[in-house]
Symmetry: C2
Subunit: 405 residues, 2 copies
């Protein structure tokens, strides 16, 4: 807790978070002399520049000046129709445009859902480790965090149900669960179907809501997709969040949330209060893109490239990493999770050895738990590095970790 | 306070606001058979479509695929340089790019500043009436509102200073003032220079911060501009908020906040947690526009058109309005404030008489005070209606108000 005089001017929530560490990390990450396994950036060379350029110019040509005016806070109706049709097709859903709100990336959906449900100290359960950006969004609402450990097939349900039971009679009752069931950020783990089904039941039984955050869902490189948690939901408990950041372009800042029309109406009202709406033109350009180009074919191209990068990283890890380190073997997404023995400090290692000696950056585990101080993990990104950088970088990283042992 | 079972699932802040009334109003406002004096929309026919289309296509052509990638959460450095140079030139400022954060419209700046300063029950002073969207943003943080009445030269400083004094020893101490000093939304009133100077002194004396929200500042149709409150600030107390929504395009969703680098760094961290960043391409397109086209010449064209509309509305009000109604005479901006006698209910009048009989919509005063239930005022917008609609609409409105007397 920061207690310096100037910071007493700020709201309590500000003491919870220190953005400066992350800023340093992303600075190091964007320095071209470093090999960065840190960010969650897609491969820039895969953005469909020509098709997107056409989509922007044609969206303007079709609507003229009106495209620079305000639009519906939920997003244009036609775009919502396109997105919900796509969502229903991919996930056996039965939703209509009243069930979707277009947001400023998936990040804004997480913020708005937090705003809808969380008072100070409200119970919020999440996977540990989890996506740092979600932790930052949640911290602003000062919830009580319940960290649920990860297993090979998703969060530990025994521990979660135990926490649910214990929290029921308290003022920190769990009201919300945040999960990334597909190729989790940062572990790459995918939740099993029985766990998904059970989570939907538990939500009804223990009266909580689920944020099913799934931006990597369509980036599966092996095996068959699991049904969404939402597909098992019979009680309007699940808010499914996704985004075009990983499958098309993060610079567009377009995500969405699918749920009951009652919840979507509330979230739309909250969106109007935080930024009125997303930019009309980017929404209309996406609508044009979805109508005139083949997003699925584009995603298939991405999958070929990312599958090769994932395979290269797994191979390099298998060959070079000392045997006292473990790593996950994801079937999709952007990340592999590397784990040293408990006492090891990945952040110290990166700052003091890895970055100065090998110019390699990754995301150490300490920022990826809202409460615990777990120091022995590292998130490795493979989407925005070349296969050569992967081979070279992982070999160097493994060498330094071997020396440190 | 809504106490139905389902709403108990939501955070306390949700009971504070009901977005459904506003949704109805904007539905009526966009119905082409109505004359709408309701929204705060710029005139669609004045958006520089060709120049903006060029800016988007050239921004893509210049940066290729990189323009679809993530960028700096604060906004691209070059754009921040352009914006701060413009801000300094227009307002005798001495700021640099570390003093500016690019936001998703001015609305997001208001939300982020609230997030930085407001705990539940923190004292927040604002002009009464004020901008509905700001009230909605503030309500999410559950502050204690202090409504400061408006005078012809801006907020009543005697009452404000009295509230400051009274609040000092309490837990609801005023920590933030929200003011729209130029062509205030909804009254059209501009604050006098002595009041601006005094506010900057008071902020230092009573240890509070000021949101100087000024999206209409450059749309002055008569007289000389007043210095900004920020220009009198010697203690880093003022956060100046503005936007391109009224002077270029609201669909772009680009605003900004200028203040001390310490506050801007905090706000940038908060922005990263709510939406990561604004869309890269819209930011780069604005940067291109500012470099290659003449925004000031464009604003001069807007002023000619809006000045004529303001004059037409003031003339129609002067000719037709019964003498027991008062209205303001702004020198700029988008709005005139109409006031009936205290007991009159503008919302009832609009819903039951004006809309069904004359198909005219405006914003009744009841939503424009966070606490008080003031029913006798109406905000009239003149920017997005034709001069013919203004003449016809105001005559009809006046006729119905005369009959209702």
């Amino acid at each position: 807790m920061n207690t310096s005089p100037i910071n007493n001017q700020f709201a309590n929530r500000i003491a919870n978070s220190d953005p400066s560490g992350l800023a340093d990390l992303f600075m190091a990450s964007s320095d071209p002399k470093n090999i960065s396994f840190a960010g969650g950036y897609p491969d820039t060379s895969l953005f469909p520049e020509t098709d997107l350029a056409t989509s922007f110019s044609q969206a303007i040509a079709n609507q003229h000046q009106a495209i620079f005016q305000y639009t519906d806070a939920k997003g244009p109706l036609k775009l919502r129709e396109q997105l919900i049709t796509r969502h229903n097709f991919n996930n056996n859903g039965q939703f209509d445009p009243a069930n979707i709100l277009v947001t400023q990336g998936g990040q804004q959906a997480i913020d708005l859902i937090s705003r809808l449900f969380l008072n100070t100290q409200t119970g919020l359960a999440l996977e540990a480790p989890t996506y740092m950006g979600a932790i930052a969004a949640f911290q602003a609402y000062e919830p009580t965090f319940y960290e649920i450990p990860m297993e090979e097939d998703g969060l530990n349900l025994t521990i979660f149900e135990n926490e649910l039971k214990k929290s029921q009679a308290t003022s920190q009752k769990i009201k919300l669960l945040y999960t990334i069931p597909d190729f989790q950020n940062p572990t790459g783990i995918t939740m099993s179907t029985p766990k998904r089904q059970r989570l939907a039941q538990l939500a009804k039984e223990y009266n909580f809501y689920i944020i099913e955050d799934s931006p990597y869902r369509e980036l599966r490189y092996h095996g068959e997709p699991q049904p969404t948690i939402q597909s098992f939901d019979t009680d309007d408990r699940v808010l499914f969040v996704s985004s075009f950041s990983k499958i098309l372009s993060p610079g567009l800042r377009i995500g969405y949330v699918v749920g009951s029309s009652k919840l979507i109406t509330q979230l739309a009202g909250l969106k109007a209060a935080v930024d009125v709406q997303s930019p009309t033109l980017t929404l209309e350009a996406l609508s044009y893109y979805l109508e005139h180009f083949n997003l699925d074919a584009h995603i298939n191209q991405l999958k070929v490239r990312y599958q090769a990068k994932l395979a290269a990283m797994l191979t390099a890890l298998t060959i070079h990493m000392p045997s006292n380190l473990k790593f996950t073997k994801p079937s999709g997404g952007f990340f592999i999770w590397l784990e040293h023995q408990d006492a090891f400090d990945m952040n110290d290692f990166m700052q003091q050895i890895c970055l100065p000696q090998a110019h390699i950056v990754f995301v150490p585990s300490n920022g990826q738990y809202p409460v615990s101080n777990v120091t022995n993990g590292a998130r490795l990104n493979f989407s925005n590095v070349s296969i050569l950088q992967i081979q070279l970088g992982i070999e160097k990283l493994a060498h330094l970790l071997t020396t440190e042992n």
